[in-house]
Symmetry: C2
Subunit: 225 residues, 2 copies
């Protein structure tokens, strides 16, 4: 486990677990709904699998998750203690979105962005049948420029290669701008007006597009004046 502080204070005891590198991000993934090892990995791609493995064991020992194995299927299921970390994640994210404004170029990651968007698709809002959203990031290397979100019957796939289906709506913008909009630093409408996001497709879909996502709770947090 992490190093101890030698303090009885509840904050200190909690931080002995939570202040270790990556731990809070793994918890974020868990409270966001990921249960499987490789899904968790997609949320923390820069973390080595061995370290993720170690962290999961620590979280099991701490009583935050339970490792549930059914045959060959392994899932990490939040316990009551784990669910109660949601307010902690929310408090930290709320503070972060208000006070850590500067996003460095190294924080921009199309794969991570798509992965986050993919789990915030509101299936009740997306038209029935297959809906394909294409994204083109104009300011990145060709290999990570084009992405597709394929929404079909309650499932969402992230593709970095053309899945071949007809595209319903296409988005063209900069990765930084798209990230800012996703975080709520810039509103969708403002970006459209400024023409820093271009959307193509039938007007009905273009208008509906922003409602297809249940935007992150942090996107709605008021920013300091």
């Amino acid at each position: 486990m992490g190093a101890t502080y030698g303090q009885f204070c509840p904050v200190a005891k909690a931080m002995e677990l939570l202040d270790e590198r990556w731990t809070m991000l793994v918890v974020r993934e868990l409270v966001s709904g990921s249960e499987r090892f490789n899904d968790l990995r997609r949320g923390v791609p820069r973390m080595s699998p061995s370290l993720l493995s170690k962290r999961m064991q620590q979280l099991v020992r701490a009583g935050v998750v339970e490792r549930v194995q059914t045959g060959s299927d392994v899932r990490y299921v939040l316990t009551q203690a784990g669910h109660e970390l949601l307010p902690v994640v929310e408090a930290i994210g709320t503070w972060g979105v208000r006070w850590i404004g500067e996003i460095g170029d190294e924080d921009l990651d199309p794969q991570l962005l798509l992965w986050d968007m993919h789990r915030h698709v509101d299936h009740d809002a997306v038209p029935s049948g297959r809906t394909v959203i294409s994204l083109r990031f104009t300011d990145v290397a060709p290999s990570t420029r084009d992405w597709w979100l394929v929404v079909d019957d309650g499932a969402v796939d992230v593709c970095d290669a053309d899945p071949g289906f007809p595209v319903s709506v296409s988005i063209e913008t900069g990765l930084r701008r798209m990230t800012e909009v996703w975080r709520g630093d810039v509103s969708w409408q403002a970006a459209l007006r400024a023409r820093t996001i271009e959307v193509r497709g039938p007007e009905r879909l273009r208008r509906a597009l922003p409602t297809w996502f249940t935007w992150s709770v942090f996107a709605a947090v008021a920013r300091p004046a």
Copy 2:
């Protein structure tokens, strides 16, 4: 600054600052009202002064505190961003007090306990004039057994040597038990009934004693069944 995560997520950006060792405890001290370097030290006695110094510089750079020097007087004053870390500290402490039940022997520290009690004295509740509370921890080495809290005119002093004033009320108990009561794991009344805390002095003062402290917010947090 701390290592980066390469993620645009507000939680990740916040944790780049907050997950470094000791940082959250220093923030706890700051939101608890400490403003001076040596007061902060008393709240994190196991932290080396050089590391505290480094952390303070990081917190200044991050915009959490402002270093205000007036002549030779130096104070670290919370900014708006700093004040807004209070909900984070509360969320973490609330989780910690519910789910990290086991307090190791190495987490027990009479000096830290007295320092925490000292800043939770409710001056409106304590009788006017000088009030002296003596504490004796029956289960620790003689050198850290006896303590005094001297409350006088809005000021509180922690003494590890007899200040010589007449004692108003004396408390005799184990350090672990006193810590449990202070954290709210055990109620004052229950400890009295179980005779694991003995209080001596005039009955009026004995009864009033628990009201002299504004107990930590975490003490009131409901524990899991």
